[in-house]
């Protein structure tokens, strides 16, 4: 057991939960802000102002030490409204139609954040890396394995940084849970299984305001059949990868990250069983087999787009002594101890866990005190997180540019996860188990 319950990387962007204040007294948030603001500004641009671009933009507006110089979108409606809102909020930004126009005009950029549709990730990222910029690219790296591989190759060739947007890898709660609870304290015992899901209620396809259509020739130039496909590209083959890629990518990446390796096989079932005008599967159930050193662990993943039932979105790691159910939503996070495991009071004392009450000492085996029924203790991770959920991952990227941090999700590491996600879609189509070698997951 280590004596330092939280390290600096886990702390950045974190505040202490009630009861865990001792963890962080030597490192106040104010000090962090002062340090960041003393750094020189990094000039950046956001390429892609759609739904995910908006999420990233939210964080980019509050991160210290960067200057948002430009936003890019081929949809005038989106680009112009973002430029207007940003200017209203004090940001001096320029809007550009596409990444080529950006690169032609903005000569003082150090980095770009890429949030265009998946099939544009590789071309845009490769162009920006080749232009000498560091790149933060949303997941999936690409809608094809070859596209993702080309991004790793360009990253290596140019020596620039390429961070992939699996933002949980920079989430202090996830980092704490993995490093302290799973690895140091081995709270789960031997890991034997994992389960993750993301179930969403049925939604209608996205529309767009009247009079905001992109001209058909412009849509065609950028690979879209029509405005409907532009707005709903995630559902179409050749543009995105469907729900396993959109939602599953985050969580299957957690399987690989926490197990510390890639699976040796995948089997899956799914289909386009509900929606009538999409290409990609609207539901899938996937089983990976991980050959861990201590024995096989199987990981089940399901994604549904017709029901929100099933307890939200989470990743659960199950062992013979305990289970951790993780989620970006702290309200869903849970810890369970198996009866056979030793008490967690020592972990509570060391601020590895918080508990709903003080655990009573075991006492002498030949004595007992009788009183009211005691409730079962509830445990939680003693790290809360008060920033926007993508903010630490972006901050990690900018700190890596400054040389004060190492990327938490460089493209070559992300490639391994994304390879096995592509294989899940392949397994659905093939309706059979597909073997995966460690070698083929390397870019």
């Amino acid at each position: 057991m280590v004596t330092q319950p939280i390290n600096r990387r886990e702390f950045l962007g974190t505040t202490a939960a009630a009861g865990a204040g001792l963890l962080l007294t030597s490192c106040s948030p104010k000090a962090i802000v002062k340090k960041a603001s003393a750094l020189s500004k990094i000039n950046i641009a956001l390429i892609g102002c759609g739904a995910q671009g908006q999420v990233l933009l939210d964080s980019l507006q509050v991160i210290e030490g960067i200057r948002l110089a430009a936003v890019v979108d081929i949809w005038d409606y989106n680009r112009n409204s973002n430029v207007r809102r940003l200017k209203e909020n004090g940001f001096d930004v320029t809007g550009y139609h596409d990444y080529e126009e950006l690169l032609a005009h903005e000569k003082d950029l150090q980095a770009v954040v890429v949030a265009v549709p998946d099939f544009w990730h590789a071309p845009v990222t490769n162009a920006c890396l080749n232009a000498g910029l560091h790149v933060y690219c949303e997941k999936m790296m690409s809608n094809t394995i070859d596209g993702a591989r080309s991004m790793v190759a360009t990253m290596r060739k140019t020596g620039k940084l390429l961070q992939i947007g699996h933002q949980r890898r920079s989430n202090p709660r996830y980092m704490f849970a993995l490093n302290r609870l799973v690895r140091d304290a081995q709270i789960c015992g031997r890991l034997t299984a994992a389960q993750a899901q993301w179930n969403r209620a049925k939604t209608d396809d996205l529309g767009w305001p009247k009079h905001s259509d992109i001209k058909p020739e412009v849509l065609a130039q950028y690979g879209f059949k029509d405005m409907h496909q532009f707005r709903n590209w995630r559902w179409f083959k050749g543009l995105g990868g469907g729900p396993l890629s959109d939602l599953g990518a985050h969580q299957i990446d957690i399987f690989n990250w926490w197990f510390g390796q890639t699976p040796k096989s995948v089997m899956a079932s799914g289909g386009l069983d509900y929606y009538k005008n999409h290409d990609w599967y609207d539901n899938a159930m996937v089983i990976y087999e991980y050959p861990l050193a201590e024995g096989v662990a199987r990981a089940f993943y399901q994604v549904q787009t017709t029901t929100s039932a099933g307890g939200g979105y989470f990743e659960m790691f199950m062992g013979d002594e305990g289970t951790i159910k993780m989620s970006e939503n702290p309200g869903i996070t849970k810890l369970y101890r198996e009866d056979r495991a030793k008490a967690w009071d020592e972990l509570v004392a060391k601020n590895y866990l918080s508990a709903s009450a003080v655990e009573r000492p075991a006492g002498d085996a030949d004595k007992v005190d009788v009183r009211e029924t005691a409730p079962l203790l509830q445990y939680d991770i003693p790290v809360s997180f008060n920033k926007k959920i993508h903010q630490p991952h972006l901050e990690n990227f900018f700190n890596a540019i400054r040389g004060t941090a190492k990327l938490n999700c460089p493209a070559d590491e992300a490639f391994a996860s994304e390879y096995v996600i592509h294989k899940a879609n392949e397994a659905v189509a093939a309706q059979k188990m597909i073997a995966i070698t460690a070698q083929e997951t390397e870019a």
Binding site: K30, T203, K210, D226, H228, N386, K388
Partner: protein
């Protein structure tokens, strides 16, 4: 399933015209209550897409404004030490500016820190430094509760979006306590809105304005007087009619606490505001704003 636009355009014109004449109603859970979008004089499919986009606005605002979300801006504001600042997003900065204006206009009867005196000896103070888009904690702990303005602010933002989508004939409802009316449906003088319980006899035809109600019927004596930190309700119910929902939401809450002479003074300085008070089966209004037509 929503049809692709080319499928919409190919539909029978008569069928499309039929959906245009209906009022389309869409529901969504947010901010611990039910939001509703009603859109008139529009194709149902398009209205549904517009409503979906409007609900996304509400969800986004909830993630910023909820004090129950660990990473909301309101939660981050609560954690500010005295003298510290926090950079705010555009929507939150705008909402807090309105809240500050309403606090001043209502003589402190509406305040984001209404409950703070339950846990702090004095009212916490805050400021919005000009041109910085930040909030600064000037004293105390900024335990904000946007329960009396957040839903109204969300309705205003939803309305902006629906107008952008060229759906001007709408009625937006937040939990039954705040409504924001856009244009009236075709061949109507306005949306029929009542004061009080279902099928209230006191009804008005509203368009391009907002009506909010506060009262004790649902949550009991839940309205604290921010000036004392104690329950300060002087009446069973109060309503406010203004141009924007953020204003009506806040003003109706203040209307529960202010004495009648204070309300008269408040609405006397704001010509666009009306406050309705109920005494048994009779409703009275205070303010200079022209009364809407009765329904």
């Amino acid at each position: 399933m929503v049809a692709a636009p080319d499928e919409c355009d190919g539909r029978d014109a008569a069928a499309k015209a039929a959906t245009m004449s209906e009022i389309h109603v869409f529901n969504h859970h947010a901010m611990a209550t039910q939001f509703q979008v009603r859109i008139a004089d529009e194709d149902k499919t398009y209205a549904g897409q517009a409503a979906q986009a409007a609900f996304a606005v509400t969800d986004d605002l909830e993630s910023r404004l909820s004090r129950f979300r660990a990473n909301s801006e309101i939660t981050q504001i609560t954690q500010l030490a005295v003298g510290e600042k926090l950079r705010l997003s555009g929507p939150v900065f705008a909402c807090l500016n309105i809240a500050r204006k309403m606090e001043n206009a209502t003589r402190g009867a509406f305040s984001l820190t209404a409950a703070a005196l339950k846990t702090q000896p004095t009212k916490p103070l805050w400021s919005l430094p000009a041109n910085e888009f930040t909030i600064r904690c000037d004293s105390g702990r900024l335990e904000f509760d946007l329960g009396a303005i957040g839903k109204g602010f969300a309705l205003d933002r939803m309305a902006e979006l629906l107008r952008e989508w060229s759906c001007p004939a709408f009625l937006l409802v937040a939990g039954g306590s705040s409504i924001l009316a856009g244009n009236a449906p075709a061949n109507s003088a306005g949306w029929s809105c009542g004061l009080g319980d279902d099928h209230s006899p006191q009804r008005y035809r509203l368009k391009n304005c907002s009506l909010s109600g506060s009262g004790l019927a649902v949550q009991g004596k839940h309205i604290l007087d921010p000036r004392t930190g104690l329950p300060g309700t002087l009446r069973h119910r109060a309503w406010a009619l203004t141009d924007t929902a953020a204003e009506s939401d806040a003003l109706s809450t203040a209307g529960m606490i202010l004495r009648e002479d204070e309300i008269t003074a408040v609405v006397g300085k704001n010509q666009d505001w009306l406050v309705f008070l109920q005494e048994k089966e009779n409703w009275r209004h205070l303010g200079q704003r022209q009364m809407p037509p009765e329904a």
